[in-house]
Symmetry: C2
Amino acid sequence: MADYKKMWEELGMDLETHDALCEVLPIAFGDTYLSQENRPENMAFYDFVISEIHGVRPAELIAHQKKGGKVFGTFCVFVPDEIVFAAGAIATGLCGGSQFWVPGGEKVLPKNTCPLIKASVGARIDKTCPFFRIADMYVGETTCDGKKKAWEILAEEVPIHVMDIPQMKREKDIRHWAEEIKDFKAVVEEFTGNKVTEESLAEAITLMNNKRKALARVFECRKSDIIPISGKDALLMMQIAFYDDPARCVEKANALADELEQRIKDGVSVFPAGTKRILISGTPMAVPNWKLHHIVETSGAAVVVEETCTGTRYFENLVDESTSTMDGQIQALAERYMKCNCACFHKNTGRIDDIIRLAKEYKVDGVIDVNLKFCSLYDIEGRSVESALKSAGIPVLGIETDYTDTDAEQLRTRIGAFIEMLG
Amino acid sequence: MADYKKMWEELGMDLETHDALCEVLPIAFGDTYLSQENRPENMAFYDFVISEIHGVRPAELIAHQKKGGKVFGTFCVFVPDEIVFAAGAIATGLCGGSQFWVPGGEKVLPKNTCPLIKASVGARIDKTCPFFRIADMYVGETTCDGKKKAWEILAEEVPIHVMDIPQMKREKDIRHWAEEIKDFKAVVEEFTGNKVTEESLAEAITLMNNKRKALARVFECRKSDIIPISGKDALLMMQIAFYDDPARCVEKANALADELEQRIKDGVSVFPAGTKRILISGTPMAVPNWKLHHIVETSGAAVVVEETCTGTRYFENLVDESTSTMDGQIQALAERYMKCNCACFHKNTGRIDDIIRLAKEYKVDGVIDVNLKFCSLYDIEGRSVESALKSAGIPVLGIETDYTDTDAEQLRTRIGAFIEMLG
């Protein structure tokens, strides 16, 4: 990483502890990513982002702030970035995917909390992530017990607005979500001093739809019998999409998709013909959580799609752009976001339909349903997922894991046996 | 217990497994309850209820059904019994407080689920509790992750209506809860075939308010320096109130309160003068979970109040009876129920105010904040509770436990040391 010491110092970071993170990350990335063969050339951009992960993008955010702009830190695919960008502000994802931050979270949260929440809180209170220092306001949501209460702890540190995500998906719940988006717009307008207009919102909706379309193009290529990109690389693109500049995300994902489409025409696959195709469903994998993909793809199979928040849940369904009134736009946003099938909803049968549809579209041989340890929602729902997949004749393996290496060998054995069983 | 074999058989219960439960319960009750000295005479009623726990009340519910009446099974203090009784139906609490049912729940739920939920699901699917067999419809709510998903599993077994409890306490959330109550009323009317009228609802509101007042009278007596009833006995009354006939509950609780008031006048305490007074805050203790009270009260202290769903959260705050329109009554219900401070709410500062207020009103020497293992909500909130109590100069001990005996000795040691520390 280039020298960003001064910037980190000015952000009030704990430089000494942060140095330790900066030392291990390139090694982990090298072992996991750079060891892959025949990667798409356009992955060079994403490799660069990781190599400068706490430098380049933070510096951009700070430059934006120096011009009077605001930065909102988000944790969930339900928070509508459109509103933030329409107010001339920047939204950046803040989820923590590293075990490095977990002990910090455990200072204030029970150990029985999922690693994603512990790492997110730890990254903030230990002062070891610039993104968590930069964000002027955090945006939380009421998706799960752990997050609902974690916001109360983070609120001691930083301004936080919490959006009340409905717990069901009835007509009135979509109306409720539209109201929450309206309230969020008022908060963002007040905090930035900028008005969200029909025009600026229409522009932001188009921008975010373009981002969804670009990411979807890359995923579309993964449906091919020629697998032009590894699951690990696709995951990396998604992880970076969660916090990078959206216009750049569109450009880079489209360039990658161009290359992948050409690869398919040229018959260039990163896996030997006949490699077993895996769908991973379940909880999100925030950067740098590459654990499961790495195990699968070094055990002889390929991950061809993720039904996760760092997968299809992030980009499927577009916001309707045909309406131009503020109420209409907000309703369109509410409808699009409420199509996302998170296990936080009571009666989430749509998610099972999604998994079976994706399994067919991506011609998968088997599904690995993963939940981060202590995520009750996905863990309990796992039973329905497994039973529906079995009924549909799709092999499935249920896995619970955290960010540590302690279960890696055991997972490798179980996943290896599962892949072998696929024939 | 009298011979209810035929009734249990007709309910489709697993008699053999149920016999095992019937064998252990009287022993546990004898050891925990009947060993106490100088108990109020009016506890005889509650002892009788326990001795016939799977017989007398179930038989009454079945008699009601034979006359064409419906029975609704509930799991939470947020479900407004008023609506059920106003439709000529009966509401009965279904929570499971015994380790006996936990392994059954673990057949379909992750082990990392709180014992209350596991026991509730296990009691149903193992067919070992008549109440779970009798209820024609279950009423769930979206209070926590575990319950939200458990209803999906129970829905495979029995009709279930889920009420969407708001996740915050803003003005619009109270409106939302009023709407949910209105929807619940429609469901109850449809299911029972009976109309809820302004008159029948007013009657039910008065009945439930009388129940709250009667329970509050017993608690009022616990504020006295003369402690006329043990915490264990008060807990038993509360546990039975959750599922007994409400009119009988009023009568029996008032009779008990009469006796306790007389005891205070006569200076009859069940504890030696100077016994340390404990407030227990946290998660509910469903029958027959007497574990913590028993440890505290056999370690030299007295439990004088519970800030739990089987304590003050159940009866504090009355429903406004001054309004006579349906909309007004429903709004009054919504307002009363939303005053209850469950950890399921984001920003639950009212609960901390409650605990400090109760600590003063009941003149407690220390607080034991308990959460059932894997209840993230109360576990995370425990940090705020402990810190607020420390600031207020009130000694506090945080405890996490389940229904097993495995931690009993360790709890006894910690609680003993805490009581000793109180001086």
